[in-house]
């Protein structure tokens, strides 16, 4: 934290900084699960926190997490749309130096990449962030029934992909 930033800090900024430190790692993990690339996850998380700063004084403390999650998911969905033509880059794992010949981490991420981006978002929110259906529905602005059915379909696809990992390199965004 540089001296110039400290001197310019509005009174509410300390709560923003606390939120940043508390949530940045979780946001990175969620973004990675949705986007399949740590670099893209970092961009999306950075953008999310910038958006949050802009609106921070108007965000009620009791709704901050839900608001932030909506911004994060929207940012990831927009990033996924803009990256549709970067498939070659997408298929190069960030962890090229990882020595493991079979890595469950990459296996799951590769399988997720083969799902539509909204399925990835539903699965990340349900099974990584462990959110209830209502919270996922709020984040994605979908009816709860749609979240349930989308989760069921996404799980079915994911199970099929994990059962046949050789088919996990076709992006269907």
């Amino acid at each position: 934290m540089g001296p110039s930033r400290t001197s310019r800090a509005p009174t509410w900024e300390s709560t923003y900084c606390e939120f940043f430190h508390a949530r940045q790692r979780g946001f990175m993990r969620t973004s990675y699960a949705i986007l399949g690339s740590w670099a893209a996850a970092e961009d999306a998380t950075q953008t999310t926190f910038t958006q949050l700063y802009v609106h921070w004084p108007r965000i009620r403390s009791e709704t901050r997490d839900a608001y932030a999650r909506r911004v994060l998911v929207n940012t990831c969905l927009a990033a996924a749309r803009s990256r549709r033509r970067e498939l070659v880059v997408d298929e190069v794992p960030d962890r090229a130096a990882d020595p493991a010949p079979y890595d469950e981490r990459l296996d799951l991420i590769a399988a997720l990449r083969s799902l539509p981006v909204r399925d990835r978002a539903v699965l990340a929110l349900r099974f990584l962030d462990d959110l209830p259906v209502a919270a996922v529905a709020d984040a994605l602005r979908l009816p709860e029934g749609t979240v349930k059915s989308q989760t069921a379909r996404a799980l079915e696809r994911l199970h099929a992909l994990l059962a046949s990992p050789q088919e996990t390199h076709h992006d269907h965004r």
Binding site: R5, P10, C17, M28
Partner: protein
């Protein structure tokens, strides 16, 4: 077929080793720039026209001294933040506003601007500033901006209130004589926000404006949420401490 519990473990394992992350400083700096641009956007419409319309005489408030030099030699005001290094004018603005509106929190930002920027100009160019702006977050639903400076040369002077006009919601446009010019109180809406403003245009062309931007769903709600009334703002508008000489480069 893996169970939900196993899937949660898979997700946790697959995303556990976060290699890096966003930068707090970058988020804040980008966020501040966006907030400044949004505030600048609110200067459109009536207020921008009014500020731009004031004629430039090249001299600060007449009858009120020469105002403060941009590079003052006074010690920094106690408790005021040094938003722009190299000048005390930012601190003087903060102190002056605090004297008249003591219920305000500390400013979010105080920055120089000029005729080429609707929002801030680079801090390092403060000596060429034609106006100074101080931004405050009054409440979760209200932002307040204090502007003081000179309008571009050749622009029409204070337009006043159009004859008999009353803005939406019955918010009247009112004119009040000041020590050396006229004060105008009016309001307009941007759709999702209601902007109340009071402007003091000195005969020399120096203009001081306070804008209260209130988020509300109606004029009545905006009026109810508004923190100040025009009478609270008039002493600040006419305070000579906000004045400063027009930069030589702009004369």
């Amino acid at each position: 077929m893996i169970t939900d519990s196993e899937l949660r473990e898979h997700f946790a394992l697959a995303t556990d080793d976060v290699p890096s992350g966003p930068d707090l400083e970058t988020s804040i700096n980008r966020g501040r720039r966006s907030r400044r641009r949004r505030r600048a956007g609110l200067l459109g419409g009536a207020v921008a026209g009014m500020i731009a319309a004031a004629a430039v005489a090249g001299i600060a408030l007449s009858g009120s001294g020469t105002g403060s030099d941009l590079v003052a030699t006074d010690p920094a005001p106690s408790g005021a933040a040094d938003f722009v290094s190299g000048t005390d004018h930012d601190q003087l603005v903060e102190r002056t506003v605090a004297r008249h509106l003591p219920s305000l929190p500390r400013p979010d930002d105080v920055y120089p601007s000029d005729w080429d920027h609707r929002g801030p100009m680079p801090d390092a160019d403060f000596a060429d500033a034609t106006d100074w702006q101080a931004a405050y977050t009054v409440s979760p639903t209200e932002e307040l901006l204090v502007l003081s400076g000179y309008a571009p040369p050749g622009e029409k002077a204070d337009p006043g209130c159009p004859g008999g006009r009353t803005t939406s919601g019955g918010i009247g446009c009112h004119r009040t004589p000041g020590p050396d010019g006229w004060i105008t109180d009016d309001a307009y809406t941007t759709g999702d926000a209601y902007v109340f403003y009071s402007t003091y245009v000195v005969r020399s062309g120096f203009t001081t404006t306070v804008l209260e931007t209130v988020t509300a769903s109606s004029w009545d709600e905006a009026l109810d949420r508004r923190a100040f009334v025009p009478d609270d703002l008039h002493p600040l508008l006419t305070d000579a401490d906000l004045a400063f000489p027009l930069p030589a480069s702009r004369r």
